[in-house]
Amino acid sequence: MNRREFLQASGVLIVGFNATLRAQTAMSPSLAQVDSWLVIAADGSITAYSGKEELGQGIAVAQQQLVAEELNVPFERVKLIYCDTAQTPDQAHTSGSQSHPANFNHDNLGQAAATAGEALLKLASERLGLPVSQLTAANGSIGNGTRSVSYGQLLGGKKFNLALSTTAKRKPPSAWTVLGKPINNPDLPALVTGQFPFIHNVRVPGMLHGRVVRPPAVGATVISVDESSVSGLPGLIKVVVKKDFIGVVAEKPWQALQAAAKLNVKWTNGKALPAQAAFYDALRKQPARDTMLVDSRNVDASLRGSTATLKATYLHPYQMHGSLASSCAVADVQGSKATLWSATQAVWYQKSTSAAILGLKQENVRVIFARGSGCYGVNGADTVTYDAAVLSQAVGKPVRVQLTRHDEMAFENYGPAYVIDQRAGLDAKGNIAAWDFESWSPTLGGRPGANTPGNVITGALLGFPTPGFTPRSPAPAPGAYANNSNGVPSYLSANNRGTGTIASGRVLTHSVESNFWTGPLRSPARLQNTFAHECFMDELAAHAKADPVEFRRRHLRDPRMLDVLNAAAKAANWAPRPFPRTGLRKSGIVTGRGVACVLYEGDNGYTSIITEAEVNQATGAIKVRRVISANDVGPVSNPMGLRNQVEGGALQGLSRALGEEVTWDEHQITSVDWRTYRSLPVGFDIPVIETVIVNRPDAEAAGAGETSITLIAAALGNAIFDATGARLRQIPFTPERVKAALAAR
């Protein structure tokens, strides 16, 4: 076989292209080509391209480890470029704990690196005249111990020109040398010294500064804009009005801010909002779209035949992403072309929707991700990118827009509120015979999708429709089992597709229209559902006078779920004791423990948490002393990153459980800063957090970013019950609510 034939047979076709100078293309490079994911330069340096971005969750390091591992080079040798629509493969959004599953399992980045590794071995075999079986790859070279050739020499800076192979063999975790080891965050030296450039630090020559003027009330529309109210203000370049979208552009940010504040706009009154106190009841009465997730069709009969039935209603408020930074974006729209710098979690949808907003061809819009502060879903990053794009187009110059704290908080896409009714029957032995779940949750908009700029405030103000939903009742019969939203309690068997043993179950959800924007907030729906499931499970255990860990074990059949539950119990030294406890003190400070567990999204990471908490019965104050978290997320890429995520998730979940709640009056949102929306600060009584990693090297990679946050509210509610005998069914657990629950004992 000559070289040419060999190369064709091996699928490697080297063309005379300098691969290191990646052409910035109009469309994203194909997922199916190795060259879209990897470039090896003549000097052997490796650049990986990914459509999954670093938001602070640690995925950049893990992806670098993955490529280094599959290509047998040290971690430092790999450079990672992510989420630039002109350079990186289109991987939709970075969300839902899906980055690990997407890039580490059977396709995409990991598989591209494995394909490249195999191709390099074949090239080396040909170059050295040695069979592949005698060759090993190490440190960027391939050889047999006496003779070797480097990747740089093999490729000579050319492309692979090779389709990604789904059968290329991946390195088994037992052979890992880079993955599985704790790796420090390489961004930290730049971050701690204030050098790291965030989206807020993108500075384009000739850049102007824009500010938006949002409606003062929900649903208010523009009657008139009096531009003379700002005429002559220093630095003001332009007032931009497009339907209900209003913005100003000035030379300096401070000038833009003042012009926005002084601009005289007449608005309609907007719509009347339901009184917050009656809101949860009102949700039940709205027209709804019904979905049945599980229905064994015998629940009512099973409940009637039960020895005892229990009912409880759980309430969860709207909560905010409340990112630390007020969102910011920079746009440079010149004629038919646009370049947008955005902290969006979805650069490709940002590209298509911005093209629609600007009236440009998609191929003429480039979106470059730049890091914002932690986002946790859909904060103002998408909407402010539209703001910058529209203002830049209006003035024909690059424009930077930064939202005010008020505009960030009053108009973001909140994590939705929930009302959840739980009902279950116990048999004579104290086992659960049937479980009946019904939820109501409001929705409006969401993350912008391919054609939906109207999913966020700016798109809607510009007149793009917000896709509504059509009421539907009754719900059609359930489709194939999936538990993406964790609506199905872990203890249902759901025809042996669920993780539990209970055969009789019904899970019915009602989606209703929201007055406020909603969208995915870290563990969307999963957190709210799991709070209700895991607290109700505790109520059932208490009624059956069973230990909460033992009671869970009795109703679980998935061995991995049992393993994380047992691992947490072991680490917490959980010994069974009578439950509910007897002889509880009704005054002073008391302590208790609570447990919760879940298979996140029904298939994306097993996790269990135990908390130990202190309740001050005089003040209603809660102090969490200890959090033990056991996690099985498959093979662990970077234990350092995993621990950081579990810790951060647990504390963020604690802040949400203890204080966070979106509030409103007759016309507008009133939680608009850090005094009116209460977050735990850096300095508080931080619990000791112990993370137990149940490593599963042979399982699929799962997500880890949303595991602990899904459970902490439930585990805490259960600990408060254990300590006091009082059950908290409404989040947040404010001192007033705690005292009310204590008084009701």
Partner: protein
């Protein structure tokens, strides 16, 4: 009207509205990345700078109020190659997720500990009770601050 300021050891003269918040001058006119816009209301700490060793929230501090002052930003403490001991403590403890809050966390802690070198853990907690990290890297951050406090003693 021109306002002069010393920032990280260098003199600057800024021709800006004297009511402009210091933060805008630092991040827009002087192109510094350290001080950050979080809330603009003095509620989160992201914009913190040091003036006479005190932590000052530059989003609610006007230029005219600090005319002639000597301002240190996070960039002024150390470099990636040679970080200041408190910056090193954050690297050692791997105390960040997105890292946006680090400016406020590090400078607030430094200003407090430099004045109160014998601070107890409870006092450190109190000193950090008006600084936000929404990624909730709080436990690592407090460990990093305690490490710096111990090493500085």
């Amino acid at each position: 009207m021109s306002i002069s300021l010393k920032v990280n050891g260098r003199m600057h003269s800024l021709d800006l509205d004297p009511d402009t918040p210091l933060l805008y001058a630092l991040s827009d006119d002087l192109a510094l990345n350290g001080p950050k816009f979080g809330c603009g209301l003095g509620q989160c700490g992201a914009c913190t700078v040091l003036i006479k060793g005190q932590a000052v929230r530059s989003c609610v501090t006007t230029l005219k109020a600090v005319s002639g002052a000597d301002v240190t930003t996070l960039e002024g403490l150390g470099t990636p190659e040679k970080p200041h001991p408190i910056q090193q403590a954050f690297i050692t403890e791997q105390a960040a997720q997105c890292g946006f809050c680090l400016n406020g966390v590090i400078l607030t802690a430094k200003a407090y500990l430099d004045r109160n070198p014998k601070a107890t853990d409870a006092q450190i907690q109190q000193a950090m009770s008006a600084v936000l990290c929404r990624c909730f890297t709080s436990s690592r951050m407090v460990r990093a601050i305690q490490r710096y406090a111990k090493e500085a003693k």
